[in-house]
């Protein structure tokens, strides 16, 4: 019996045994993003106008701010997983691939955090601005 770890495991080329969970998460997050995006599109098209006062006033309502926060979480997780899929398929050099994955993941977290902060600032800010 060998005490060595199989090479495939060391190089991360074997099954990590989390494929099904990842696949399921992709579908769940996609469905959530779709539902919340349709909600956003319908809400925006139904607003009387899209000027500063109307939009900021609208985002103070719990039933606007909360779906918006959830949309941001779902959307940025979805786009991060989608971009990773593309990178994994087309970036053949391992170094480039790892660098791109890290940059895209960090950028998605940063952009998502900016969006979350903006919504919270509007929601908890003084009314009328």
């Amino acid at each position: 019996m060998s005490t060595q770890t199989p090479l495939a495991e060391v190089r991360g080329t074997g099954s990590a045994r989390e494929g099904a969970r990842h696949w399921g998460e992709e579908r769940l997050v996609s469905a959530a993003t779709l539902a919340l995006l349709v909600w956003l599109a319908v809400s925006l098209l139904r607003l009387p106008a899209l000027d500063y006062v109307t939009v900021t006033h609208w985002l103070k309502a719990p039933f606007a701010a909360v779906p918006m926060l959830l949309l941001i979480v779902a959307l940025f997780r979805h786009l991060q997983m989608g971009l990773l899929q593309v990178i994994e398929d087309y970036a053949h050099d391992e170094g480039n691939r790892l660098l791109l994955i890290a940059l895209v993941s960090l950028a998605a977290v940063f952009a998502g955090a900016l969006a979350l902060f903006a919504v919270l600032k509007i929601a908890f800010g003084p009314s009328g601005g």
């Binding site: 469905a31 779709l34 995006l37 939009v55 971009l83 050099d93 969006a115 903006a118 601005g129």
Partner: protein, 132 residues
């Protein structure tokens, strides 16, 4: 990737006849990537502008409604419709349905036709709303 260049390569994309299913597959990736970069960028810009005050919001609106830049929101609408419809097609195929040649071809075309129709419908509604 370590590839021995003296070995023969499978024909792959260079020799296969294009079908609607191939087009819709690559469109799903292209529109997804475009939405992730441009769409999410505009989305964050809009929210941050709204959180930064009336003046920042006015700057965003003047850019977003500039008629020569309208290609961006219209293009994003089409990309979102295409990505959503081909995404819904993927859900059906994930469930194991829609692999028969005729059905597969038909629904691949329908995502593309549907995306253009939905884009026209949405922008016709927007045009109707902003026209006094």
């Amino acid at each position: 990737m370590h590839r021995n260049p003296s070995r023969p390569m499978a024909p792959h994309l260079t020799i296969w006849k294009w079908g609607p299913h191939m087009l819709v597959s690559i469109l799903h990736r292209v529109t997804g990537t475009g939405l992730a970069i441009v769409g999410a960028g505009v989305f964050v810009w809009w929210l941050v502008a709204a959180a930064s005050g009336a003046e920042a919001y006015a700057t965003f609106v003047s850019w977003a409604t500039w008629k020569w830049a309208l290609i961006v929101p219209i293009g994003l609408t089409w990309a979102a419709c295409q990505h959503i419809l081909s995404g819904l097609r993927h859900f059906v195929m994930d469930a194991g349905a829609g692999y028969e040649l005729q059905a597969n071809r038909f629904w691949a075309w329908m995502t593309m036709v549907g995306a253009v129709l939905l884009t026209l419908l949405i922008w016709a509604y927007i045009y109707w709303r902003v026209t006094p």
